[in-house]
């Protein structure tokens, strides 16, 4: 649903000199749902993804926070529990695969704020976004469980705010930035999902944000695609443009709204793009 995340990430990576390699065999991580279905199956399918990366001699970059959380949690369990790793490898060996436990999983935000470095990013900015007041929306799965993720601090995260600043924009402080968008129950408990989305958007809006930015495409689905439903639930106009992290970076690097797929958003970001 959010192909523009993929497109804009590839463009931005290319401009920054970050080389991406496809993983054509990688399956869906299960998004947490396969964890509910059958834990050993979830672990084995994710170990198969890690095995592919290991064979490529690379770590994994994902553009989705839920993939990040689901894969990192599986990776944590496999690294922590030699018996689980052993049993999982027993299953993988039926397909001629194996995983030794050496792969790391990262998301774009961490690569920018960590590996690439925000000083380097700053140097690449062609058009500082000084008119943008962005509410950083981490979403749950960039921050928790912290014993599986580890990069940022779940109570006092910094990476998204620091990235926004590096792009010349101003981050807005609000309580909901580390909370949930409701995506996981969109089809299960719609009222909860819609109201949650509305509460988060209104929270950031009340603190003066003129847009939201999120590293997670699932959060984007709720904050943008479902914003009209959220408005109906609370009977309030919200009208809040929401950027994927890669799009905000792309704007600062001088990419056009068209190239970044901003026209695909349901809430038009036109008024904050210039």
């Amino acid at each position: 649903m959010t192909r523009e995340t993929d497109d804009s990430t590839r463009l931005v990576a290319k401009m920054l000199g970050i080389e991406l390699h496809e993983m054509p065999k990688a399956s869906c991580c299960g998004a947490g749902l396969l964890t509910d279905y059958d834990y050993p199956l979830y672990i084995a399918l994710n170990a198969r993804i890690f095995a592919e990366a290991e064979a490529m001699g690379m770590d994994i970059l994902t553009i989705c926070s839920t993939c990040l959380m689901v894969m990192s949690t599986a990776n944590r369990d496999l690294k922590r529990d030699p018996k689980l790793l052993d049993e999982t490898n027993g299953v993988l060996s039926r397909t001629g695969l194996g995983y030794s436990g050496k792969v790391e999983v990262k998301q774009l935000l961490w690569v920018l704020a960590g590996d690439y470095g925000l000083e380097n990013l700053k140097r690449q900015v062609k058009r500082p976004l000084h008119w943008i007041k962005a509410a950083p929306f981490y979403g749950c799965h960039s921050l928790r469980p912290s014993d599986a993720l580890g990069f940022d601090d779940p109570e006092k995260p910094w990476s998204l705010e620091a990235t926004i600043k590096a792009l010349g924009a101003e981050p807005v402080e609000y309580r909901g930035k580390t909370k949930c968008c409701g995506f996981q129950v969109d089809l299960v408990a719609e009222k909860t999902a819609e109201k949650m989305t509305a509460v988060r958007l209104l929270d950031g809006k009340s603190k003066g944000a003129n847009c939201f930015v999120t590293p997670c495409p699932f959060c984007h689905i709720n904050l943008d695609n479902y914003q009209r439903l959220a408005e109906k639930t609370v009977d309030k106009k919200i009208e809040m443009p929401v950027f994927h992290l890669s799009q905000l970076v792309g704007l600062a690097l001088g990419l056009t709204p068209g190239a970044l797929g901003l026209g695909r958003h349901l809430v038009s970001p036109e008024k904050v793009v210039r």
Partner: protein
């Protein structure tokens, strides 16, 4: 070191100031001092009107849970200095998602009624009562048994923040304590009840409960175990289980998340029709997911082999293939 504590005060019986307000106290804090010790110091030396619950001071009784700098913490096991150093402030409020009664004391009644709903006692049959509790059987429910009912998880629960009727993480973990017990005899009845509206499928997987549980009960893990058990018991006629089932199907079929097929399978025919206006908006923005058009991943046979192997291990019937 002197540290400013900003504490939310509230006394509805106070005729002059019945509304909540924040009061600052300056506390001399020593190395190793806990937040609870600082509160006791305030109440003993400065302001005896400050109300809060506490008892054991050893992270056993579960009385002293509060919101510290925005997150639910057991104040007797949280030291002031590292917390202050990290957060740059020391703001104490009552537990979120609970009605404050006075100052930092909240009404725990809804918490207990949720626990009650989970029937927190064994209901064995004449046969099941004789099942031996082996070390392995015990390990299944170990995490859930560590709960001290402090309320941190319910206070942090994002689903409960929005829907007060949601069963919540504490009662879910308690439910697994009994569903997962080898001596229990009513698993099916319990799981059917837990699968109803506002039950375990309404969890939004925000992971706050497991992150902030001071006893590492991992409530989300227990919710996942309940969901798996419910599906194994054939309790599939609800949106949550259908959604998971659709995912299991989608990954085995194409290796990917087939958004359109999953929506249809979760909602069913009638509710999917309700999604048409939304679908048209999505289509206009090039966002409408089209079912059964997404390409398979490479080597999908490996994924299917893993499914087959895991079906065999779990004693599960292989899924029907829709080719």
């Amino acid at each position: 070191m002197k540290i400013k504590f900003l504490i939310r005060r509230y006394n509805p019986a106070d005729g002059e100031a019945p509304e909540p307000y924040y009061q600052a106290y300056s506390v001399e804090v020593s190395e190793g001092m806990t937040v609870l010790e600082a509160l006791l110091k305030i109440s003993e030396e400065e302001d005896p009107t400050l109300s809060f619950r506490r008892s054991c001071r050893s992270a056993i009784c579960g009385s002293c849970a509060m919101t510290v700098n925005g997150f639910a913490r057991l104040t007797c096991s949280l030291q002031v200095l590292p917390e202050y150093k990290k957060m740059g402030e020391m703001t104490i409020e009552p537990l979120a998602n609970h009605r404050p009664i006075k100052d930092l004391v909240v009404d725990m009644e809804p918490f207990w009624s949720k626990i009650d709903k989970a029937s927190p006692f064994l209901t064995p049959t004449e046969e099941s009562i004789n099942n031996p509790v082996t070390t392995e059987a015990q390990a299944l429910i170990d995490d859930s048994q560590r709960c001290i009912m402090c309320g941190c998880c319910n206070a942090e629960c994002n689903s409960l923040e929005i829907d007060g009727h949601f069963i919540g993480p504490a009662a879910s973990a308690k439910a697994w304590r009994f569903v997962g017990d080898v001596r229990e005899g009513q698993q099916g009845r319990r799981l059917a009840k837990l699968s109803e509206e506002h039950g375990v499928w309404d969890c939004v997987r925000c992971i706050h409960c497991s992150q902030y549980c001071p006893k590492d009960v991992k409530p989300l893990k227990q919710i996942e175990l309940l969901r798996s058990a419910a599906m194994r018991h054939g309790i599939l006629d609800n949106p949550g289980a259908k959604h998971v089932d659709a995912m299991a199907d989608s990954v085995e079929r194409v290796g990917r998340l087939d958004e359109a097929a999953m929506t249809f399978k979760t909602l069913g025919f009638l509710r999917s029709i309700g999604m048409i206006p939304m679908g048209i908006k999505l289509e206009l923005h090039g966002k409408m997911p089209h079912p059964y058009l997404i390409p398979q991943i490479e080597k999908i046979d490996e994924v299917r082999k893993i499914y087959g192997e895991m079906d065999r291990k779990a004693g599960r019937k292989p899924r029907k293939k829709e080719e």
